[in-house]
Subunit: 319 residues, 4 copies
């Protein structure tokens, strides 16, 4: 089987997710090319080395430029904080590597456009880490919409609420700095639901939105502090520079209207990535918290049997 | 419009429910005969009088035999404690009145048979208070089963759990006495789900069951104490004579298997009257806690769209 | 018990709902003043007479001004199409009657303000038909918010989607005419969710919205055609003058952000009146389709037990 | 990090599941011993070789006895059809290997007891493939029960319904033969829910059950036909020797009552492994179809806030 050799930059939460996915491909999709994790890069050689051992990967480096230059690498996977994506992706493209970059693609639309144009000019393949797009539930939604099964699409309602930062004592991190993260809930969470909106309903023609920052400062904590850490009561405070929640109206090119919202501080929602798509002949509802279900309504069903139904995938067992 | 004149025996919780239903008929079903509450009876004239005023009813009596004998009464509705049903119904039948009797019909099968035979012999009409049977959701279930839409019915799972007596300090009442109530959870709650099982799947050929009494004694409280009252800590205790919960296996005449359960002490279930009916071509699930929904699965649906769906009634609005 | 004598204008769908509610008060709330339906008015004496018989009401008139002038009437209940509310309410106020008027209160804010000021000046009591406000679930939501149990309220998301007019063959009616109905989904459905938003989160400081009309014309059908009627294929078409769906951003006076949406043409939603209120210490979610449940999340719960929970009212049974 | 060397017998559906789990351990549990898949065995060397490549495993053999004898193997994992478990496990135990065996452990209680005693005598470690036991939701259930948070446990209701064989054209396989599979739905599915019942409520003292076979014969199909295959209409038919569905009453040693059911032919249930545990102070409900949720009711909650709540694990994101 053909192998695709991966160089992975960033070995934190998302780096691990990439590593695990790469190593499971052979078992789940035996007939496709097999990704092989060739080398990992992180801020220090020590961190990279430890990750390489955990990931079952041969190479490690503390210098991402070395990884990009490595002739053994076919694809560069970028899972670093947002502000690094632009520079790393451009370097990888310049080196002739295919690029798999996490979202948000860049801090600004200008940067993203530059990256896209460079990739097109170099003829390399790119992928942005919109993982939710690949859920079979969304595949069914897409297929129903494209086949006309829902009629003319007239409305979209999407949310991505996740309470990871709901606790006001969750410590300050790069995610709250505009120079490193760009916007807040919009970039980190909203990117996914905007992606799904475009995937399902098409181009967005107009938007109009508002943002709110609720927790205006966050405690400064030790370098290892993560989302779920609660900082000490006497920790020094630092000002938050981007939004905790965002809501906006959308008008799609096809005339459909709708709303999109994202929040990093809702109470209780764990992965409340939801969409409801309304068409003149049916509707579909999905939430990632019940990721194996699609609620589908078809106006064409017999009148006594119409209803939002949890459509599940086939029974998962084989012989 | 033709009137049907009702004599109502019992003016407590269930008596009120009957009275309210009678008075709403004209608005909801304008084209049917109109029930008119003619007279109410209760243990004392005072109680009956107060109820008559609340129910907007002309007559009242402290003697149920007078109500049964009243020539103005067409139908006798019996909503008294269980042990009185047999005597009252037989008296009403003897007086040539139609009988609408609450469940359980009697304390024993022998009594119930006697009542049925007397009614048949007298040529009067009878109705047992199996109100849940009339939910349109169950109407849809029945229609799907009868039309063959679910294929051969092979399994039934039914429950009626209601936490009205879950609190061990809920006071002793006639419901805990075998002579007055008959059995416990089985008669009070199980009767409804057995009724639905027979309605949907047909006759039950065999049963095998077990019961448990969990709270073996209950505090004696004042006469007005109801289900949701909590008796004083120093109240005198009295022994409970019937079961708190019951489970049994059923084998239907058509070969289908299943289970039926009832509990008056579950934690948190308010009106957990549920059934799941499995056929070779589909299945249906219902819970009274979401009484406007039926979960329906059809094997005949397109394979990508099969799923348990909440089938709701049409939008309730008229012009 | 004190009686309150009602004069009801309009005997259609909503008039019936009022009549039924009035007649059930005595049974459900025995200790309050008792409403008595004294007289009903409709467009013709014949219609009013038929309704009076169905409603168990003594008087009937084809002239609503006679009803307003009737000295036996304490309260005038107005359930007519929207454009009539203003004139009728002002007349009732002028006659010194208390006024219970259906929503939307008027066609314009100017009209509504005039009505409110007239009532204030006359010292009469008024009530707008925001029935959903009285659901105990919303009572719990309100109490949790007011007690501080959800912390600072930072977000509101509300919808009212109802598919009553989803079928493009649902016939033209006064609801599609701007002069008679005012706006479309916003007035008819949105009024309720705006009401709940204000009730739960407080005054709305700013809005920004968009509307879409999806079915630009509707078939003209016979005068008795209602929401659920489907007009003949060859029926004459008439232009729809107001919106099928609306979405808007809200900014509350307290700084909270959010979205409100309404649609009269969604697929499959029967009474999708929903709200989600997010606070810094908890959140609450409600949908009228499961009207006995409130989903509540409390950050103060033990960490292993936090979760959105369906909080139901106590078991409904009495003795 | 210490390595544990695995020899895996069986490379079908369940063998793949084991292989995938072993390879993900290092990423998810970096601080535990690391399983290394040393060698796989299957019915032919060819099959084993192909699996070894897909699993990223060095060794392969067509002779499971060679695998058992391999000194490089620390643990033998058995994922073959049921009738082989007994012989293979005893051989592995005799060779001093630890044994990880799929459920059902054996065809009879006598066999299972023999295996257990041999393992105890040899001082080796064993594990049966009751994977659902490790769902954190069940961990929470267990903890709540053990801590007394639900009070005295009085009732258990468990099901495992899976529609993998609901289609009567699903082909005959070893699962329908008593000599190879033992019982049907009981062994294949019921084993899991019995396991959970014992884990959560303790030993079962008495049972009383019934079984039904609904599809009495199945079409014989090609050797590669699996659960989801549909056999040709003219395929030869073969008699099914074990039950399609089973229901039984249970009485636990602690006095609690309940029911357990399993079906391999329900309509629409994909992995309807559910349990409801009732205690005198609370209750818990779980279904594997919504595997990230536990519905929990606590009588100790404030009375206005009691309710079955979907308790979810903490937000899954790290830094």
């Amino acid at each position: 089987m053909k192998e695709v050799r991966i160089g992975l930059i960033g070995t934190g939460f998302m780096g691990k997710a990439h590593a695990q996915a790469f190593q499971n491909v052979a078992l789940l999709f035996p007939d496709t090319a097999r990704p092989v994790l060739e080398i990992v890069a992180d801020g220090s050689l020590e961190t990279a080395d430890a990750a390489a051992r955990a990931f079952g990967c041969r190479g490690a480096t503390g210098d991402w430029r070395a990884l990009v230059a490595d002739p053994a690498v076919d694809v560069v996977a970028i899972t670093t904080p947002n502000h690094l994506h632009h520079e790393m992706a451009l370097a990888a493209i310049a080196a002739g590597k295919h690029v798999y970059c996490e979202k948000p693609l860049a801090l600004t639309a200008t940067q993203a456009k530059e990256m896209t144009e460079a990739a097109d000019a170099a003829g390399i393949k790119t992928l942005v880490g919109f993982n939710f797009l690949k859920n079979p539930a969304t595949g069914l939604a897409k297929q129903l919409i494209e086949s006309g099964g829902l009629g003319q699409i007239v409305h979209f309602r999407g949310t991505f609420d996740q309470d990871a930062l709901a606790d006001p004592r969750a410590p300050f991190s790069w995610r709250f700095e505009r120079a490193l993260a760009g916007s807040g809930a919009l970039d980190d969470l909203g990117a996914h639901i905007i992606n799904l909106a475009q995937h399902l309903v098409g181009d967005i023609a107009k938007v109009c939105g508002q943002t709110q920052t609720i927790h205006h400062e966050r405690p400064v904590a030790g370098s290892g502090a993560g989302y779920l850490t609660r900082a000490a009561e006497d920790a020094e405070m630092r000002r938050v520079e981007n939004e905790d929640q965002v809501q906006f109206l959308v008008r799609f090119a096809n005339g459909a209207g709708g709303t999109i919202e994202a929040s990093r501080i809702p109470s209780g929602r764990k992965i409340w990535l939801t969409y409801e798509v309304n068409g003149t002949k049916g509707a579909i509802y999905f939430t990632q918290e019940r990721m194996n279900e699609v609620q589908l309504y078809r106006s064409d069903d017999p009148s006594t049997e119409r209803g939002f139904g949890a459509r599940a995938s086939e029974s998962p067992r084989g012989l």
